[in-house]
Amino acid sequence: MELEVRNLHKSFQGKEVLHGVSFSVSSGKALGLLGRNGAGKSTTIRILMDVFKANSGEILMNGKPFAASQHNIGYLPEERGLYPKKKVSEQLIYLAQLRGLGYSQAKQSLRYWLDRLGIAEYENRLLETLSKGNQQKVQLAQTLMCDPDIVILDEPFSGLDPVNSSILQEVVQECIQQGKLVIFSSHQMSYVEEFCEDIVILHHGDVVLQGNLKQIKKEYGYNRIVLAAGTLTPAQFEEKLVNSYSDLLSIYEKRSDCFIAELKEGVQKNDVLSRLLQDQIELDQFRIYEASLTDIFVSKAGDEE
């Protein structure tokens, strides 16, 4: 399966919030939809789920128009909510039946997922009596009970403690391994880095960056090195780099414990290393710079505050 989103535009009360969002994702891969609050992640997901209609643009599945109602989709909306005064089992079976499962199938699936998520003991408890974290797990069970081909998770990690987050991580990994098509939005870059092959960064309704995460990281780290001097203070080292190394590099970023430098055109890493050794500067760090997703995200979507 390949899901392709093409040039989505959406306006609310005359204000355009999506300015032509496009991306694609295929089965067995996870797409991380990243962006700050109000970037348009949830709106994009809701258009995918047919909660909203786009003003223009199209969504295709294997090249044909996509209709959410015709696919088995597990959806965890950003606005979490079920029936607080209903038993966990009662409402999960109801929602699974609405999505096509028979009663016994739903019951079986319920048992599996409650057990898998460690909340089997709450099967017959009212939802409102559960902690927030466990209510989140019930929501996740609801999402996955119908064994969906497409899993769409909007901010799945929000409100989860580290233990529950790691359970969710495992579950998402399993979904990917099972060949499901996974789309999820998140603020937590570490999770995205861990299991997303592709990312889309939205900023004010525009796609500011998208593609294969490894490739993006590589491109961001290209021609950049990390430098830290052992004997010099950061100020002395900075002065040295600016005054004596400007023919080889320029400082790209200053960090508390190191500098990220960008090599000039045609300069090799060994050229810099030779000069540093020649100048007898004791080095604590000299390595190729690998951009983290947070770095990439901040550089693309961090123009405010």
Binding site: D50, V51, F52, P77, G81, L82, P84, Q97, L98, R99
Partner: protein, 412 residues
């Protein structure tokens, strides 16, 4: 269809499991049995009391009356004793003695007869329900008429018999027995009115609560809004019909159990013609569904449960107006107003069966009105579904009329 049945089953189960539903049904059922049994219980007590004592003693006068008739106006004392069998009658020698007796509560009522057409009534404390004076006036009138007829040499008994002769009659209703149908029509109208007011509001609250607890997004992405709104509204309507049937059934059963003690007082009102019942069932159910859909749609426009009461107020006012109009039609069934209201879907659900019960309506008129009501109800169901769907887009916000209209225009 499968989704609709799933929603219907879930919602119906939710409503029937509500504590408020179970408790209110049990209280009303128990209350009706207790109320209907009360006359029987008291009757039994009364009869057991009389069986122990002397019947003559039981019929003994409970009050005392003192009469001062110094001018010998009363021609036959047996006559007054017969008229006031519930009084022990004594005679005073003068007005002062009579007054003292009444004041000291030795007599409950005192009459000083001045002449054959004038008397004074003495009582310690007067009350609105005291009929003694009017009864005595009636007696004095009869006494005067008898005396005068005798004085004029007429046979008073014969003349009285002529005046009291009874005329018997029988009414053959060729159309609709409006007078006879009045009571149960009133009861059915009131029942329908109460059902819509009570259960309609519950449906609106049910829909709004899904929006406030955020389940609506999961629901609308899991099945069609039509299945959801139709399932919810019909479940609410069924719960209402079921509770009403239990309550009405328990009243009827308890009445049947106590009919003898109640002297079969409700029997004439329970003979409802099948045509009226059929019209009530068809129009009542459709009207109930129509307003349930309207109230469900209003529930979808509210962002919180607390907003529902305020938002449904205009519809409740409309229901009250229709109820008032129906009462008016019940009084004047053949007027122009009745003819107009029985075709308007917002009023026909109540006015039509009032018309059928107390007036003559042709089958064609009933069919046209029923068709209009059915189409409007189904249409309202789809509008409700659209609004319910639209409700998912406005978390935390109450929808404005302009947004609702825009939603229909742009298919948002």
């Amino acid at each position: 269809m499968k989704s609709f049945l799933t929603v219907l089953r879930f919602e119906l189960k939710t409503m029937l499991q509500k504590r408020s539903f179970i408790i209110s049904t049990l209280i009303i059922v128990a209350g009706s049995f207790i109320l209907m049994s009360l006359p029987g219980i008291f009757k039994d007590d009364d009869s057991s009391g009389t069986s122990k004592g002397d019947k003559a003693e039981a019929a003994a006068p409970s009050s005392t009356m003192m009469i001062c008739d110094t001018h010998k106006v009363i021609s036959d004392k047996k006559l007054i004793e017969a008229q006031f069998a519930d009084y022990k009658i004594t005679y005073a020698s003068d007005a002062e003695a009579l007054q003292n007796a009444v004041e000291l509560e030795k007599a409950d009522a005192g009459f000083v007869i001045h002449n054959d057409r004038n008397f004074t009534y003495y009582v310690k404390n007067s009350s609105l329900t005291d009929m003694t004076e009017s009864r005595f006036t009636e007696f004095m009138k009869q006494n005067y008429q008898t005396n005068e007829l005798t004085r004029l040499n007429y046979n008073a008994n014969k003349i009285n018999a002529i005046y009291q002769s009874e005329i018997t009659s029988e009414t053959k209703v060729l159309g609709t027995d409006g007078a006879g149908n009045y009571f149960y029509t009133y009861m059915l109208v009131f029942l329908l009115y109460m059902m819509i007011i009570i259960y309609g509001n519950q449906i609106a609250v049910g829909v709004a609560s899904e929006k406030s607890n955020r389940a609506i997004e999961i629901l609308t992405t899991s099945c069609s809004p039509n299945a959801l709104i139709f399932g919810k509204v019909i479940a609410g309507a069924l719960a209402g019909v079921l509770q009403t049937a239990i309550i009405v059934g328990s009243v009827l059963i308890s009445y049947q159990m106590n009919a003898d003690a109640l002297d079969h007082m409700l029997d004439p009102y329970l003979q409802i013609p099948s045509a009226v019942l059929a019209t009530f069932a068809m129009f009542g159910v459709l009207g109930y569904l129509l307003f349930s859909f309207i109230l469900g749609a209003i529930g979808a426009m509210c962002s919180k449960v607390e907003e529902v009461n305020g938002a449904t107020l205009p519809i409740q006012m409309l229901i009250v107006v229709v109820f008032t109009m129906s009462m008016f039609v019940l009084q004047a069934p053949d007027g122009m107003l009745a003819k107009i209201l029985m075709y308007l879907p917002l009023s026909s659900w109540m006015v039509m069966f009032v018309n059928v019960a107390v007036s003559s309506v042709s089958t064609l008129e009933i069919a046209i009105s029923l068709g209009l009501l059915a189409v409007t109800t189904v249409l309202m169901g789809f509008i409700g579904a659209k609004l319910y769907r639209r409700g998912t887009l406005s978390y935390g916000n109450t929808l404005k009329l302009s947004q609702i209209l825009k939603a229909f225009k742009h298919n948002d």
